[in-house]
Symmetry: C2
Subunit: 196 residues, 2 copies
């Protein structure tokens, strides 16, 4: 039997760390606790295992950080918010939203790296399902915002096409054209009432 | 073998619904799809199964809504935010934060009902771990805000005491007095620099 190694980086008053530790204790999973002083200098281990937001808690399983929930949250925050602003805002705010949206997709493309899916080469993970759930909206955001996701993140669009070969995914997603139609209606109503 | 019944309430353009459906399809779990018109009249089923935020998607398993994630999110949003404002705000804003904090705990007490834990009578669930992870902060919020949680939600405090009988929980949580000490220091530093 191989030895499983679990390390938790935490800062003692954190409620987000406490729940991870309690869950491990409840499941009787042995782990090594490492205290991080979040007000002091961050350790190399924290910076390596959580390079984007550099926050505790981090759960490290056999040297690999458990970041699934982190990426899913990042997508729901950044892609949702910036994507929405590409069509609800105008002018400078719209440009900023487009930049932010593209930057987030680039970050995700880097995270995907050479893997087929975020979950690895054979299986989709929660991160794949969360991100692809935004794909039907891409067409509307590109059309109204006047930009092309393919131009900025071609590898990520390759990942989209790969996802769409899975029947479970392609048959579950709404039609991008139907969404554009609905979004266009909403914009027209908005322009009618507010004049912009 | 008993028949498992899974129902999903969704609104077709929703990315939050799409991921639930894709996950069920990937796992080859049969389910019944029910469309909700979120702009129209909400169905009785939606109001019954998601009475607090009345939003899709809802996953209903054998007649019971899967609300675990919902309650965990509500705690992280409402308890975290209102709790923090009970000591970072003053005057009217502090009073509002206290009210909001107590109202949230009352809502949670109602959800707990006559069960020993949120997860049932025998086991703690994710909701239990998420909520109890805030318990070490209660003492600070009560002391600085000048109120008693026990007075408002005695049953919920009974649940706290029950949770603390579990070694996995009691040994994992930080010391409430140590947190109050740290919080008091932060307040003093704040008063020194800003004068209130």
């Amino acid at each position: 039997m191989s030895q499983e190694e679990v390390v938790v980086l935490n800062f003692w008053p954190s409620m987000f760390g406490a729940r991870v530790i309690m869950a491990l204790e409840e499941k009787e999973i042995k782990f090594e606790y490492k205290e991080e002083d979040v007000f002091g200098k961050k350790t190399d281990l924290l910076l390596q295992t959580n390079p984007v937001n550099k926050k505790i808690p981090v759960l490290i399983h056999n040297g690999k950080p458990a970041q699934c929930r982190f990426w899913a949250d990042l997508i729901d925050k950044k892609v949702f918010d910036a994507g929405k602003r590409t069509w609800t805002k105008k002018g400078k705010e719209q440009e900023e939203a487009k930049q932010e949206f593209i930057e987030t997709l680039k970050l995700l493309e880097t995270e995907l790296g050479e893997k087929v899916y975020f979950g690895g080469n054979d299986n989709v993970s929660m991160v794949d399902l969360v991100l692809i759930s935004y794909y039907p909206w891409f067409h509307s955001w590109e059309t109204i915002g006047g930009f092309s996701i393919e131009d900025h993140t071609p590898k990520l669009m390759g990942w989209v096409r790969k996802c769409l070969t899975r029947p479970a995914i392609s048959k579950s997603l709404p039609d991008p054209l139907k969404i554009l139609d609905r979004v266009s209606q909403i914009i027209k109503i908005h322009e009618f009432f507010y004049g912009y």
